[in-house]
């Protein structure tokens, strides 16, 4: 066990996953990931090309170019940086390139805020990238490695984004048990991209796709995203076999006989566990659902799990203005065809790094118990 920041946990995963090309642009709170990688290379601990590009847009562009040559690539960003390279995520996905990107979640400006919420990653929900959220630095480390295995699978070939809350994970030292290069090699086969830039097989990559082909190619992407679900399950299982660390698309925590549950993504899940423990001690039948994988959205599993409860509080560390939190949209839509629908309340918390406290969770459970509470409530805001 080592004490590692989220930065170090991700950078170590990248190093030990034999990544060939990294391109990145610094931004708080992502910078240290790529600073560490640059130092690994400078010290000869990592054999990799690092391209210090002039913007996030060029970061993703450069790894698209490299990935199209069939080498393993990595980039990282957050907040405004993700907004800047937003254009290229659908390109990476449409070109079917298995690029892994770490997002140290940061809010969107204005006002300028370097602090964490999930809008940067969630706003990319329709961009065609696999998206995983992490609760701890261990999970960030493991998810980065698993992301390569998932997105490089021949039935998938899509980019993947691994989200870890900026500062709350990225800058926090906590115990991490990293995997070494040998272990990762036995788990993660070498990348073998069939269609790549190679003068011996001179393919054209990225042609103009008119109305005669666009939908077919989009359908292929959709199919790949659906395939990813099975690949993710299988990868989680294989990972558990070699590490003993278990991950699920959706994790249930103390949901046995629960009537009311809250649903969380990312680092706030940890604090949510504590409040569930406390309320259980007080005799409340409460539980917690942690959504790890956001794209592909695990609709069927979630439907099965959530149909068991009477009341669900979906906690969103983001806001889709005029429509509530993004996670709540997705959760509600997947429950639409249930006969007995649970009551769903949406809680907006922690925007722009506002601490999501123990008391916030108490308030949320209290509001969940109140039949007259609003459909969407902002918690922890001074009104």
């Amino acid at each position: 066990m080592q004490g590692m920041t989220g930065h170090m946990a991700v950078a170590t995963a990248v190093k030990n996953s034999s990544v060939d090309v990294v391109a990145a642009y610094p931004i708080t709170p992502q910078s240290e990931i790529v600073e560490i990688i640059a130092k690994f290379i400078a010290d000869g601990e990592m054999d990799c090309e690092y391209i210090p590009v002039e913007s996030e847009h060029s970061a993703l562009s450069a790894v698209i170019g490299a990935s199209a040559c069939g080498v393993r690539t990595f980039t990282a960003s957050c907040g405004p940086g993700v907004a800047l390279f937003h254009e290229l995520i659908p390109c990476a996905s449409g070109l079917r390139l298995p690029i892994v990107t770490a997002i140290t979640n940061r809010s969107y400006s204005a006002p300028i805020s370097i602090w964490s919420d999930h809008i940067d990653a969630l706003a990319q929900r329709d961009s065609g990238a696999i998206q995983m959220f992490c609760e701890s630095n261990q999970e960030a480390h493991d998810s980065t490695i698993m992301a390569y295995k998932i997105c490089e699978n021949k039935n998938v070939l899509l980019p993947a984004m691994v989200s870890l809350d900026g500062f709350i994970l990225s800058h926090t030292v906590e115990p991490v048990n990293p995997l070494d290069n040998e272990t990762i090699k036995s788990f993660l086969p070498e990348l073998d991209l069939e269609y790549r830039l190679d003068s011996e097989n001179p393919y054209t990559i990225g042609p103009v796709g008119g109305p005669n082909i666009y939908m077919e190619l989009k359908y292929q992407q959709e199919k790949a995203m659906n395939n990813a679900m099975g690949t993710i399950r299988k990868t989680f299982k294989e990972f558990e076999e070699i590490t003993g660390r278990k991950y699920d698309l959706i994790e249930e925590y103390r949901t046995e006989d629960a009537e009311t549950v809250i649903l969380t993504i990312g680092a706030i899940t940890t604090t949510a566990r504590l409040i569930v423990d406390e309320l259980r001690k007080e005799g409340e039948k409460v539980g917690l659902i942690k959504l790890k994988v956001f794209r592909p959205f695990p609709k069927e599993e979630l439907k099965k799990i959530l149909s068991r409860f009477e009341k669900i509080g979906v906690i969103d560390k983001n806001i889709g203005f005029g429509s509530g939190g993004i996670v709540a949209h997705e959760v509600k839509s997947c429950l639409y065809d249930l006969d007995n629908k649970p009551i769903i309340k949406n809680f907006i918390v922690g925007l722009g790094g506002r601490d999501v406290t123990y008391d916030n969770f108490r308030t949320i459970f209290k509001l969940l118990g109140d039949n007259n509470s609003k459909e969407i409530t902002w918690v922890g805001v001074n009104l």
Partner: protein, 297 residues
Amino acid sequence: MKITDIPKEEYLAPGARACAGCPELLALRLALKICGEDTIVVAPTGCMEVITTIYPETAWRVPFIHVAFENAAAVASGIENAMKRKGKKTNIVVFAGDGATADIGFQSLSGAIEREHNILYICTDNEAYANTGKQRSGTTPYGASTTTSPAGKYSIGKPEEKKNMPFIVAAHGAPYIATASIGYPFDFLKKVKKALSIKGFKYLHVHAPCPTGWGFHSKDGIKIAKLAVQSGLWTLYEIENKKFKMNYKNKKIPVKDYLNIQKRFKHLSDIEIEHIQKRTDTSWEELLEHNNKKILI
């Protein structure tokens, strides 16, 4: 270079959907002959990308990638590093239009030059956004009427000067910068060949008239390219290791001989043409001065 020195191999298949008589397509076709088969082409969005790669047809016989409009130099940076990993010496060549070079792609171009990637970047300049309907770009010359700088009762066409991209690239300190014209293919191809022999970021800016955008007959593209050079409105030079050298010093015709045969300049009054003539003469003198001193700045 003699005509028989130009390889017979065609790396662009026929069937591309360029307008008839497209000098820009010719620039690609000829440059590729020098680059050869061990070449990866990167193209940003633009006429050349669109007309060569309409699914399911591609004209490219060398590996080709298009990603977006503003990022060809960044994509090429990634490819260069991936090839380094693979230990391959493949030529990495960008064919970009003027908008993708001087305007929207300027940032990624500047970054790639500064990082000294081993790339040949060829800007084929038809002085407008020809792909999207001939809107003005940063390299549209003064006085040209375009769809977003139309001539009218209160407008002489584009009221600003043409952005001097080669000098801007030169200010970055790239090891080889050259201008060329499709009207002078031997000079152009010599420069492609030289550029490929130099390590680092090479920038070639090729003047390529656009029959549709500029308003002239499809048969006249080469002729008009030559007139641009002969009038001094387009100049041929190279900057190798910061040494400046003019490759064409025989300015012999008035600018009006070039302007008057294009629809985009038809509206210009004698006063405007006189202004352009004066400014061209001044720039020409400046260029000669650079040439005499063998330096740019």
